[in-house]
Amino acid sequence: MPLAALLIQRLALSVLLMLAVSVVIFLGIEALPGDFAQTYLGQSATPQAVANIRQELGLDQPAVTRYFGWLGGVVQGDFGNSWASGSSVSRQIGLRLGNTLFLAFWAALVSVPLAISLGMLAVHYRGRWPDRLINVVSLGAISLPEFFVGYILILFVAVQGNWVTFPSTVYDGMSFGQRLEAIVLPCATLVLVVLAHMMRMTRAAILNVMSSPYVETAELKGLDTLRIIARHAAPNAVAPIITVVALNLAYLVVGVVVVEVVFVYPGMGQYMVDAVTVRDLPVVQACGLIFAAVYILLNMSADILAILANPRLRHPR
């Protein structure tokens, strides 16, 4: 299959997946038991009051009608109004999405090069103490919950060390430098959380390539290590490493939720968790859809980049 057709196929699949996800997020939720109006009014609600609220929110219409209404709005960037506050969801998201992406961007910028170089270091010293040290430390780091890392940093760096401020609030009118200073700790937490995983996967991917017959041939031919890595190992390790990076960036998107709550950072994650506690469905659905979209987009880019980097993938068996 020609490359363009293959790429278009991937794109179409992702769009289809997004539509399916939107159905799950909207209609799947409707199928579950639970009623906002009832929860909102509490135990003492009269049937009339419940009916009024349901009508006000448009809940008395059939689910399919509401789904298409919702989807139509979403395509135009309108996520409806929050049930709890009555304000526009899109406005809030517009304010917060940038903050979240800002945080995730810097975390990625630090963690990706660090993880890949550490992974290469581990391969270079395979079986010797630097490799073992990296292995043991990263095995431990994988098991750390985000909030644990976050609070350790807050306690020792912000409270006892007093080097940075907590909570990490950002607001309009902050300069770029001030913003960067505010996100130092949440960014460090995210880096620590994804670093170990990304590094272990990078190490495994490179080791996998290094143990293949053609690298052995190159070794036996008498080529020096640098040349083997640059000419033979690296081009073949690019695809798995890209996959590793994209998968971990997708993980970063989720890690952001907890980290934002820990650091009281005004982003999407905080917004979504707050909405879940008060069962504010339009907000939850909008945030869920955006998080899922970013996740699918990253996975799709991993797929496409892997196809571009490895011609063998263009001819599925």
């Binding site: 939720i29 919950p145 609070y151 997708a250 989720v254 869920g288 998080f291 899922a292």
Partner: protein, 275 residues
């Protein structure tokens, strides 16, 4: 199996697991105070009568931690067992039956996995009532998608073996093939996966509780204790870090044991341990 061949890291892991399970099983007998008993001032420092100090309401932190072990481990274990029952059964059925059943189950699984776990849980928990069995079910369903993927891959490799074909030609039913032919041969990768999934369930449950969407107070669970005590951090009180360390410790212990199991099974097959 030779005991001397077991590496130190695996022993450390097993010791940690044993300690946690012991605390969980005998919580009412070892905990110095009651789970909800207010024993003193809030956030008393460590030492003295209260080994780990007191929490945000003046309850003994050590006692809450021990009772928390009970809740956290039992809920995570229940969710993992349920996830495995669902995941293994469905994935083996998909692999054995093939065709449209396989297509249908796999595509639904792909769809479930295309939404990040935590986000999926948040969306679902926004609607469902806050009850324990619902929490267990939600974690189990989300975990089972990962079990399904591994189970299907493992089972597909086994279904093409001669002995499965022989069983089919013998006229054995589907249940027999799944439980008597495939399951025994898939146990070792599934066992390692069980450990990993359990560690993940502990982390996941703790995260949900930390966000206030998991186990509801006054019941103690490790994530919830972190949430209760997080405001103390600003005043330099480390009470929230102790349950956090417990969660991390448990997950690390499980990982150490699983790491050894994986190395052991891969070396049995003659593969490289570190590949």
């Amino acid at each position: 199996m030779r005991w001397r061949a077991v590496p130190i890291s695996a022993w450390v892991g097993m010791a940690g697991l044993a300690l946690a399970i012991f605390c969980a099983l005998f919580a009412p007998w070892i905990a110095p105070f009651g789970e909800r008993e207010v024993v003193g001032d809030i956030w008393l420092p460590m030492g003295g009568d209260y080994l780990l100090g007191t929490d945000n309401l003046g309850r003994d932190l050590l006692s809450r931690l021990i009772y928390g072990a009970q809740t956290t481990i039992s809920v995570a274990l229940a969710a993992t067992v349920l996830a495995f029952c669902m995941g293994v059964f469905l994935s083996f059925t998909a692999a054995v039956v093939g065709g449209w059943t396989d297509q249908g189950l796999s595509r639904v699984n792909d769809l479930m996995m295309s939404i990040p776990t935590l986000i999926f849980a948040l969306i679902v928990l926004a609607v469902l009532p806050q009850e324990l069995w619902i929490l267990v079910a939600v974690i189990a369903v989300l975990e089972s998608t990962r079990v399904f993927r591994l189970g299907r891959a493992v089972a597909l490799d086994i279904t093409v073996m001669e002995f499965v074909e022989a069983a089919r030609l013998r006229g054995e039913g589907r249940q027999w093939i799944i439980f008597r032919e495939i399951l025994p041969n898939a146990l070792s990768p599934l066992l390692a996966e069980f450990g990993l999934r359990f560690a993940f369930a502990v982390l996941f449950l703790s995260t949900l509780s930390f966000l206030g969407l998991g186990i509801q107070p006054p019941e103690a669970d490790w994530g919830g204790i972190v949430k209760d005590n997080k405001d103390g951090i600003i005043f330099g009180i480390p009470a929230a870090l102790i349950p956090g360390a417990a969660i991390a410790g448990l997950a690390i212990c499980v990982n150490l044991v699983v790491d050894w199991l994986l190395n052991r099974t891969s070396s049995l097959k003659g593969g490289r341990g570190d590949g």
